[in-house]
Amino acid sequence: MKDVCKPKGHSHECDCGKECLSVIGDRAVIDLHLSPTQPMHYTTLNCVMRKAMRRGCLSIELRGVMGQRYLASTASAPGLYIAVHGTPGNDLGAFLNGPTIEVFGNAQDMTGNTMNSGKIVVHGNAWDVTGLAARGGQILVKGDTGYRVGIHMKEFGESRPTMVIGGTAKDYLGEYMAGGTILVLGLNGIVPVGRSLGAGMHGGRIFVRGKVSPEQLGPGAALSSLNPEDEKEVRMLISDFVKAFGTDVPDDMSEYVKIAPSSSRPFSGYYDKTNV
């Protein structure tokens, strides 16, 4: 059995992973290449990260990440910055609550799962189920994403999640969306989104740069053009993207379309309540 570290409570102090951790001031570096067990188990890595957070580190640099899961889940330290060098595993930043995570490489599935606030920046691709049920914060992906991205994103009060994808997204983008904004830029020239777009949307909005045909829409979603408020939001999101990745993004608003719910109660009349 691989060495795992199963923390037994908040004040858990252990020695696992100590070979990899070095802290100078408020900056921590965790180099997985130095771990005696290869590859390092995700429980050990998460435990070491939590140690660094408890010591008040404001930045944590991870080197040699290879598939470790659940990194920085529920991380809440204000102002914390985490750099990930390598390939993080599934559920990166799940339930994230404030910090910023920057991935220098590709991410895997379920990045930003149910995130509350904070920021995740991926200098590469992210795959399926990115941003599932996000309730706040921002996810920026330079490359492509996969299937079922942004499912059931929601917004409430001031909290409105946003996601910008530089390349493409596949089928079921924004399914069940109840709030938030997704922007797909299609910069690599391929068809930007797939089918069943916004299926079951009842809130939120999706902006796509490029051609979207009506057959691609899922039930409950409708195509329209952008109003001045939308254009303002899109420009803001473009500027976030450019700041993160430095690429050029055409901001001719006529290239963008909007997908929004066709009604807030698209399925009324579907049920019969007779007392038979």
């Binding site: 290879m66 598939g67 595993g89 490489g105 590709n106 895997q108 596949k170």
Partner: protein
Amino acid sequence: MIERTDRKERTDRLGMPVRADNYTASRPPGWQGQPGGCGIASCISLKGEKIGGDRIARMLTIMEERENGLGAGYACYGLFPERRDQYCLQFFFDDEEGKCNAEEFLDGRLNIAHDEKVFTRDRSTISPPYPMVWRYFADVPDHREWRGERDLGEEDYMVEIVQHINEKIPKAFCVSSGKDMAVFKGNGYSYEIAELYEIERYSGTMWLSHSRFPTNSPAWWAGAHPLSLLDWGVCHNGEITSYGVNRKLVEMNGYRCTVLTDTEVVTYLWDLLVRRNRLPLEVAAFVMAPSTFQEISLMPPAERRLAEWLRITYKEAFLNGPFSIIVGRSQPDISLIALADRKKLRPMIAGLSPDEGVAYCASEESAIRIVEPDARTWAPGAGNPFIAVAGKGILRRGTEPSFQGVSL
């Protein structure tokens, strides 16, 4: 310190107890098909060169979160160059009696050129019992008869032999029966199985592998993946909800289900559709993961017509439910096929080495990066097959239109 005086309990990854009795060749009584999650990984040398077993073991074991120690396996293709044209039958025997039973049956029906024990390490962390693992290199005799039929093709004859053994011969189970390939699997973690067979001693042109998270025990060595018939090897992640329908179709066509899992039916479907019905690989993939009628109505006329007739004729071969599968074959060429269901509910990533020498398919990107740090990766689309052939290259990335390359 807690003193334990009773027998050491075997547990899975999460500490849940596992029933102590293991079954090796004979099927456990009351065995039921085991749905569950899994990890799959594969690699193929596009230049026809050799890849060592340590590489596939690294790919699979890094995804250990996907398994719980109740089954894992590897299939290697192109590992017997001196005996490339002979069938390699690799067996599990419960004991000597099973070996005698099988050899008695094979005597006269196949010409055994050579047989040997398959290397396994003496000690392992896997709980006993272990099966005897043995391999036979065989040729099919020119004059052969099966139940009165004299002109059965070589491959159909092999299928009858293998299915008969697995169904009727006690204490013996044939886990692979193809040319220039073999399956190494069992009831343990992916790294335990790699260790048990010393998988790094083998080099092959292509490897498939699988690790499992079944939802119930007891575990059965022969029930682990890859499942194989002739040179078809299948690793499967997911659960087929149309199992009852697919099973009836393969049984109607003479296959006998002995492992009683949905993966077994997937293996037989590839044999039925591609070897017997000669459907091109892209067409067989479409049959198993077809586009919706709405999507079909948007296709150009010739594609639309083919798609409609395929759905009508082969509706019992439609694999419903979430799945990713990797499929290997050695005839006519060593090829790797990867396919995900039409809604892409299970993950599948493809990769290519920078020198375009090796292609990869796996459940997670990290499985590819750990052996090829600078790989270029992409995701094949839903219901869209990835096809790579050793010595030829990637024929299909999995992002093309359904019938590209198929003559209409």
